[in-house]
């Protein structure tokens, strides 16, 4: 009973997230967003209320694509096998233009406060996920008894941010594999049975 849309919401959000990741919040101009997403200015405002709304929706959708990886850390039973799976998934996930979530952290003073709050929560939950599995690792003996689990969890979050950033300057795609290999050896994951 009306003219059909020429776009699908998920696809729009994917493309918008990609542009935001590449250019940053201010760097992604509306004209480009219109061009890249395929929906026109009118619909953009009707659907999302403007650039800010589009950004938040895009970020939200982006975080959901990361949620699958995050969910691995909450699997039962907790333990090092989950970490092993996490890094496997991490390597399978492509970050051709960096990560919108990490970029948003760096743009703390530019993006809408709610957006930053979303990321903060996401990072905290990832950290908790690491902690949970590391603690189980200590209990099971996969990790040394006196291990500072909390520090190690923070370390892994920081490392993850860094590895994805490194991907932008890396010459080779295999670099990521080798870097993750260091972490796997460090955590003794090669020895963990799946």
């Amino acid at each position: 009973m009306a003219r059909p849309k020429t776009y699908t919401r998920p696809e729009v959000l994917r493309r918008a997230a990609d542009l935001f990741a590449r250019k940053g919040y201010e760097g992604a101009h509306l004209a480009e967003l219109v061009e890249v997403t395929g929906l026109n200015r009118f619909s953009l405002y009707k659907e999302f209320g403007g650039k800010e709304g589009l950004f938040q929706s895009a970020l939200e959708a982006y975080l959901e694509t990361l949620a699958a990886m995050d969910a691995i850390l909450t699997r039962d039973p907790p333990g090092m096998a989950n970490l092993r799976e996490f890094y496997r998934a991490q390597l399978a996930h492509e970050f051709p233009n960096g990560c919108l979530a990490i970029n948003t952290i760096r743009e703390k003073q530019v993006v809408p406060p709610q957006a930053f709050a979303m990321i903060e929560k996401f990072a905290a939950s990832a950290e908790e996920g690491f902690r949970r599995n590391l603690a189980a690792g200590v209990k099971s003996g996969d990790l040394a008894k006196g291990t500072d689990v909390d520090a190690l969890a923070k370390f892994l979050v920081a490392f993850n941010m860094g590895m994805i950033s490194y991907g932008i300057v890396a010459q080779d795609d295999s670099d990521r594999v080798r870097i993750v290999g260091v972490i796997e050896r460090m955590l003794g994951l090669s020895a963990v049975r799946k």
Copy 2:
């Protein structure tokens, strides 16, 4: 024989670098730059030729402040003691608003290409610095014989990027110390005599 400047070039570059780090390249508007640096628009153009020139000069100056840390990695003799000193210096260095160098990587598609090239070179030299000392560490027996020095060097660069980014979301300043502690234990630096 003329009206004196109300600014000093190094101070201007420091403040400009700080604003660029906080807001990003596009996010740092000329009006703010003028306000923060203290020099007026006229002088800004005379000295730096415009926003782009100011950015590159500020980035260059910023990299020089990091050069002292980088220089530790080139000290003779190479070895794990240099890495130990590096992380000591790293912890002493404050990154209250993130790191302009790392942000520039993220803004690859926004900043002038020369600026990105500068960072790429800097990162490569840091990686080479790590490699050099790690290789010496293997030779001296501080690191296990079969260690993949190249992968480990890349890993340390990535980790560094991540730790600084993590600082933005970290609740506590002590988090950095604990995170670096993980690396130090991993590399066996606590056992390395200074």
